[in-house]
Symmetry: D2
């Protein structure tokens, strides 16, 4: 995935140790700079961080003054903050990532507005011939139940046909891109008598599975919000692959926050007012509760039963 030059840069960065008075998280240091491969041609790597579980606790204690020091240990305090969505201490921790991803993924990614982004500019530089092609098993049918999701995988031969189309389009479009730029893949001018079309124009013919790269910096609270939405079954598989990789880095960097995130955000479920009332009726009664009669929509009713299958015959 990396050229020899790039690998040397990473090795050099990893070899450079220095002394600091700031909070250091050894497991995060261990992960620094090393790319985690995502979607074959993409990656994500942690390139800087500030703070950690310890700093979150310290930030919370500024608000509470002397009052809290004795009562709760750090883990308990972090869980308390997470459970009650006291977000500001989590904002004090910050991470910076370097990401390579297809453009259609970045379009979902950058809808999260509370981050700082420095992206490779296709006005300034030539995009490399790197595209995302799904693995055959990831090529799936349109879901029949979910208008914005995918269903079963395609049969192998149909998947190969799709891949052939994607490869053909990427190749031809990239060839035309170079033709407009009047250069070959090595960056040499092809025909000095022909004009070079402006990069900002030529790039318009590239499909949205071309790879781009960017630096992404975000505070921990906003990062967790991103991860809850994107490391989730409702997110498109391709962005989920990045979110899952980032989660492993978060776990190393802030293990106590990660655990609280899992319990209170990722695995938590929001029960609506009507759902709670229906559930109380289930717990109180001996008959069967009609969830739709209790004010839940058909979809909500199904979701509640899926969440609590042990309800069994007591609700429908």
């Amino acid at each position: 995935m990396f050229s020899t030059d790039q690998q040397s840069e990473i090795d050099a960065a990893r070899a450079g140790w220095a002394q600091t008075r700031r909070t250091v998280v050894p497991a995060a240091e261990d992960a620094l700079y090393t790319p985690l491969p995502v979607l074959e041609t993409g990656f994500v790597r942690l390139i800087d961080y500030m703070g950690g579980d310890e700093g979150i606790v310290q930030g919370a204690r500024v608000s509470y003054g002397k009052g809290t020091r004795s009562t709760s240990d750090d883990r308990g305090l972090i869980r308390y903050l997470m459970r009650n969505r006291h977000t500001s201490p989590f904002e004090l921790a910050v991470a910076k990532f370097h990401v390579r991803a297809p453009i259609f993924v970045t379009r979902q990614w950058f809808r999260h507005r509370t981050a700082s982004i420095n992206e490779y500019s296709a006005r300034y530089s030539v995009l490399e011939k790197e595209f995302y092609f799904p693995r055959p098993e990831d090529i799936a049918r349109q879901s029949s139940s979910n208008k914005q999701g995918r269903g079963d995988s395609l049969p192998a031969d149909a998947a190969e046909q799709v891949l052939a189309l994607l490869r053909e389009d990427a190749t031809r479009c990239y060839d035309h891109y170079l033709e407009m730029l009047n250069q070959d893949e090595a960056g040499n001018v092809v025909d000095p008598t022909r004009p070079v079309v402006a990069r900002e124009l030529a790039r318009m013919t590239l499909p949205v599975n071309v790879m781009t790269q960017f630096y992404w910096q975000i505070n921990l609270w906003n990062l967790l919000h991103f991860l809850r939405l994107r490391a989730d079954a409702h997110a498109q598989y391709e962005i989920r692959a990045y979110a899952d990789a980032i989660l492993t880095l978060v776990e190393r960097w802030v293990p106590q926050t990660f655990e609280a995130f899992r319990d209170y955000m990722q695995e938590a479920a929001l029960l609506s007012g009507p759902a709670l009332r229906a559930l109380r009726a289930v717990l109180a009664g001996d008959g069967t509760v009609d969830l739709q009669a209790a004010g839940l929509s058909k979809r909500e009713a199904a979701e509640l039963i899926a969440l609590l299958p042990e309800i069994g015959s007591r609700a429908r």
Copy 2:
């Protein structure tokens, strides 16, 4: 540009008048809902607004209390606020636009994070066969002086060749898109025995000059900031075309703010500390001031002379 149905919807919206106690700006009402064409297949239209010059003045006067009422008229106050970048009264006015633009333009657009966006979802719905193709005269060479700009137009035949490439790629990619979706342009299933690839996957083969559409809501201060950067010679021509169209709507909606924007933002120039000191030396002395010796970079020196050509031989 619009189907009969869409045009009827616009006509119906424009025909629907109602009574309100809120600030009404007749010239903005006059512009409401009507699309302004941009880049042939694109448009921008104002679909809602809140406040106006009057409300900005009122907002400022909350801060100033009784103190200011007598001293300055509305126009003067708006100019004062703009000159001194007192941004909060301008934040009180809000506009909502409906935009159709190519994806590569929206990628620049959405880097402005202080707006609310609702974009057409290519996971949920099928993208239409609408692409942006530049007019031949807009197809230009890579600028030799500006790494992220364009220079002269291409000769007519070379421009036609570029257009042919763009058209070929768009057409073939879109055909493959439909092939993966197993549907024709009218939305009918082509072959009931073949699978329908998930929309979120099939769209990855579309080039970034495919058209998308979105609602965009932004407060006036953030809008002016966007316009200063994008209705500017350094911006890519394609997004500038949208910014210019929006400017005409802003002028109708908040004419006094528009005038102040032009004088104090768009036509204003920032002179650095070194540039100011050099300029003072020019004004004080009788010889020639060497701008680079005075601390300006070569590029800054050239910019200062371009800004004030009447300096003539007094600086170099």
Copy 3:
């Protein structure tokens, strides 16, 4: 609460009807400009709005394209958006309020960073002699269970003693403020031979229950987030009084969104991963589930039982 002049201004604003093509919500029009009294000397009033339930639906349908039109009615779509926290359509609606509140309340209020604020400036103008004094029944003991809350009301005589202290401090500090400004309550110079201390300095002696006022503009999603936190039993009573008043305005302005907010935000509860697992054990089993053994903290366990009292003896 209002001077004759101010009341005339409000009456004039309410009398001024004009024609608009924008979305009009009659119940919001009906409420416009009229102040709702809060905390005796404070108020909140709606002074502008943009959009409504209808516009939220329209914004959502841009994202969904043609796909959704037939399937769901407006109310159902709003409930779906709220339940799944699809926030961007709610961001398209905006409201502007005029508020008078004590400084200690605004300090909590302005921690919500996603709004535009124009506040009365005590550097520019003289603050009026308006303070917040609680009603005797609102003067309460420090809560013994909640470190940041209040418990029972004080006995009447003790409450009167507290009020006497508050009144004495406010009066004396305000007298000193005027003394530094060398003016009387009517704004006349007291002694032309004495200096007038800068307003920005003199104001530093005023206590945080002095009243200030501000314009506050916020989009509907951020407003609902504010209301969920502040129209809540954990919020300080004084800011809750404002949030409750704003809720009545929201109900008039966007009744369907209000209803969805109540069901899916205000009355909803988040069940953590451990709580859900414990609840499933309760539903499945016949014995008693030990919640703390199941991973809940003592406080969480108590909260779960309070939420679902019908659990009865099946959990402890």
Copy 4:
């Protein structure tokens, strides 16, 4: 300013060195944790940082790809980015401060919405008996020319009278605060038979010159924006004192950015369109240019002459 305990904590933090692979800025390390006194009873200290000049350059180079590496050195690139307000690379550097300041200063401070704040909670804990009292020479008259500024210092005896009022109010209000809390300054209960008023209520009698404290985290671009507005002659002296102290920390942390900030933000001036046209007339002509006839307001004309006094008799 600090108790023995607090000083020991600072000493311990400063003594704790560890190894890191991240960017380290030795001059920032040297400053870490040590409080800089501001306004006698206040302070500001740097408690964490991420990135530095080097990281800013690296972030910019992601955008420019291979294109820029050879052409410009780091200092030149930082100056270029600053001059052209390419803000995103500066957003990649982050700093965290611990601040103690009077409430009226924090009210101005927190109007900057793009930072993360963890403030001491007066609902949760008791505020200490720490107030800001200006030095006699800082007590000044209301400015006659600037409605929101101060003019000359007061005569010594008048200043002492003001200080006496401020001290009296602070002392009496704080005594009443403790009386409501039924505790003495050491935190002991005074009379076990009397009720303890809720802290969130009792604090409402404290004047806005009482000291509070907070953690403040902000990215470098937003920090520079804050500093340009607050380390400025138009800002109130008290917040300027904090901004000036922070500037000395910024200079140590990111010296190249600091230098560019000074040249291109702090010492720069914005010339409006009309001012530029007038200046060109001055440079071109031999007579005297009437600035107000050229479209400048009286105040703008005076500002232009103050900025470029060498214009002399050529403009009025």
